[in-house]
Amino acid sequence: MDDTGKNEVFTYYLELAVRSLRRSPGLTALMMLAIGFGVAASMTTYSVFRGVSADPIPWKSSHLFVPQIDAWGPEHRENGEPPTTLTYVDAMALMRQHRAFRQSAIVALFHSIMPPRTNQDNSLIEARGYAVYSDFFPMLDVPFHYGSGWSKDDDASQIPVVVISDHFNEQMFGGGNSVGKTIAIDNNEYRVVGVIKYWNPQPEFFALLMYQRAQPDFFLPVTFVVANSVITHADCKDGPYSGTDFAALLRSDCVWLSYMVEIDNPTAVGAYRQYLDAYASEQQQLGRFQWRANNRLRDVPAFLDYQHVVPSNTRLSLLVAQGLLVVCLVNTVALLLAKFLGRSGEIAVRRALGASRAAIYAQFLTEAAVIGAGGGLLGLLFTAIGVLEVGVVMPAHLAALARIDPTLLMLTLLLAVTATLLAAVYPTYRASRVPPALQLKTP
């Protein structure tokens, strides 16, 4: 057969399919709706899951590692795991020994900040940020609008400098190049050295491990912050840090510093692991640890996975929605089967008139594809509604991560048609087995 012939045959099957579907409009609508709902539920929950579980720094995540050093000992382990943050003593030792390509201790900070131009009513700005080392900015490819991060020398000499977000720059100075201006935070004046372009990776994988509504406002040097005791949060063995004896906190085994290293080749990863173990063993020999080295070095995806950052509920909803899709498909198989077998007479006549099994296959799969396409279009509509309304059942900052994009729409259509065709395989097979002669005898 040439191309036009093929086209004619396809048009003919399409016509047959539409005619057959029109004969039982209720059943057709039912099958399309079932496919539509099943596909839409799956795609809506998938869009949330995709948004929430996306790699926050895909081009680099396999080179970024989180070292964990067990400073608490066996009694305080959960499933044998050491704490996820470091003590000041250990973080400083790692910073000093500087064995990775890049490294930074990272501490979350919260402050009320007085803007320079005093406005009358609510004068304070609630701001949050991080204390980091100079390596932080190149390590995480933080994009700068104006200026840059600070230097290693600034770290060493505890210079009060600050890097701010574009949003915070807008709040404080009304935007523009603010490099060189100063900001007062808790009685200290910080000089602005850089303004960041919009940078808001989700989740905030480098420290808080949470999904945040807005980007961090500011970054300060750890060295200056510690020298001026601007730390308010720490986890200690016997509860949270009370915020009073700071000198004791620095000596204590309270953990409060997140830590990230960049290691650019796989052999160096093994070497860094050995280095961590050697460090812990040395601490054991010094008598600081009364237990054997129990360290971890996970890359960012593995660390996020271990911390269950993706809420297990989003995974569960995805699963339930997929269950719905399976039930919808079983439903479609049953209905198609009953429908096709009910047309044994018609099939027998067509077979007797010379239609091959392949022709029967083609005819019924075409019919199924039409149902799949109809279901897919309904699915698109329901998915769009679902993604737009997902904020009703999800916290706003998670719902915001769910997006409609061409990939999602294509996947929806593809899923609907593929699923329906799969559902049609067995019913079509059964239809194709209808013998011609036998059926001709009965009406």
Binding site: V230, G239, V320, V392, P395
Partner: protein
């Protein structure tokens, strides 16, 4: 009516019947587990915490102070800031009572420990969570004191938060577990080896930790007479319920008038308990809602599937039905036939589905932090499937019963 002919007829439609049984079984498995999640959420959301939540306001803030310095002096500084705040709030016309408190139920706790009857913790240990607060805490929370007395002002200590106060108020489950005889009041117990006398017993006080792994001791709380001097300080205030919104504004204004350098970031701040509760349960509520929506779709699809399949069969069997009518079957016999047929299919689905439901629950328990599926929800699923099947089959079965006998005479 005899079931046998129905079974024989079903055997001629093996594949669609098996598929429908499978569909009903899957529906049951999913619905039973989803109902269990929904039911558990509703149960947790509606469980009373022991607090009189109407008109209660929770204040969480970072005090306007620098971290660090000499420990003893820093503690006194933090305590002075708290006392000033509390006095300020007490003077507000909308505020009926106010207390220092490190925690409120479910919000994430401070710490927990084991209460023992002997100093060296050899005997009975009862797990409990600690609330640290002043003499106003019990009344401000609105806890029901069933025995003993409140703390008096002279008993309130201040400093680092930790168990070990000489007097404590305990919740009833703690009292009952330590002293099954019911004579807990006035008894001596030990917290980390330090003795304490039980001076009061409150009927109910849920722990400040989220339930999760703590569900076995979720009502075991101990109140310590201690104003915790921490940088992140918490207060509770009781106001007239109708004035809650105004009171929140007044409190905000008053606190910032005392010192504007305090800090209330997202997640902290001044909120009514109902707001705190809505935020705390927001995500779970959403998941329960999502599960409900999916369950409704699932049940609708399965019901519609049964309607569709039975309709097809009725259409295909019109002649046979006519013959049966012609040889004397009544309308009700035809109706019954389809009802029994559906009962067999749905029954089969229910049996297989119960097994699926339990299997699915086991699998979920091993992969997610889920509890075992209570048998009640399996039973609920079985009943739902049988009722759904009978309701769905009614319309096409009616149509079948209305097939007139003379159809048989026509040549089709």
């Amino acid at each position: 009516m005899n079931v046998y002919p129905v079974l024989v007829a079903l055997r001629r439609h093996k594949a669609p019947v098996i598929l429908t049984v499978l569909q009903i079984a899957l529906t049951l498995a999913i619905v039973a587990n989803a109902f269990s999640v929904i039911g558990h959420t509703i149960e947790r959301m509606s469980r009373p915490t022991g607090l009189e939540e109407q008109g209660l306001i929770w204040i969480m803030q970072k005090l306007p102070a620098q971290s660090g310095g000499d420990d003893a002096a820093a503690i006194e500084r933090l305590d002075a800031l708290q006392r000033t705040d509390l006095e300020t709030l007490r003077k507000l016309p909308d505020v009926q009572d106010v207390a220092a408190s490190t925690s409120i139920p479910q919000l994430g706790g401070f710490d927990a420990g084991d209460i023992s009857l002997d100093a060296d913790r050899k005997g009975k240990l009862v797990r409990a969570a600690y609330y640290y607060g002043d003499e106003h805490l019990r009344a401000t929370f609105g806890l029901h004191l069933i025995a003993g007395r409140d703390f008096v002002a002279t008993e309130i200590q201040h400093g680092h938060a930790g168990p070990g106060s000489p007097v404590v108020i305990v919740s009833k489950p703690v009292a009952d577990q330590l002293f099954p005889g019911g004579n807990a009041l006035g008894q001596k117990v030990y917290q980390d080896g330090k003795p304490a006398t039980i001076v009061g017993i409150v009927e109910r006080l849920q722990i400040p930790m989220s339930e999760g792994r703590n569900s076995s001791w979720v009502l075991n709380s101990v109140i310590e007479p201690l104003r915790a001097d921490v940088l992140w300080a918490g207060y509770v205030a009781r106001v007239r319920p109708s004035r809650t919104a105004e009171a929140i504004q007044a409190i905000h204004k008053a606190l910032f008038a005392v010192n504007p350098m305090r800090h209330m970031p997202d997640g902290a701040g001044i909120h009514s308990l109902s707001e705190v509760r809505a935020r705390y349960f927001g995500h779970e509520r959403g998941i329960a809602l999502l599960m409900s929506v999916i369950c409704v779709i699932l049940l609708s699809v399965t019901a519609a599937g049964i309607v569709g399949l039975t309709s097809l069969w009725v259409g295909q069997r019109t002649r046979q039905i006519g013959v049966r009518r012609a040889i004397g079957a009544r309308k009700i016999d035809i109706l019954r036939y389809f009802q029994i047929e559906n009962l067999l299919i749905a029954g089969g689905g229910a049996v297989v589905g119960s097994l699926f439901a339990v299997g699915l629950s086991e699998w979920l328990m091993s992969h997610y932090e889920m509890m075992r599926l209570p048998p009640f929800y399996v039973a609920l699923g079985v009943v739902a499937m049988l009722v759904l099947g009978q309701a769905a089959v009614l319309v096409p079965a009616r149509r079948a019963s209305n097939v007139p006998p003379f159809v048989a005479a026509r040549s089709g």
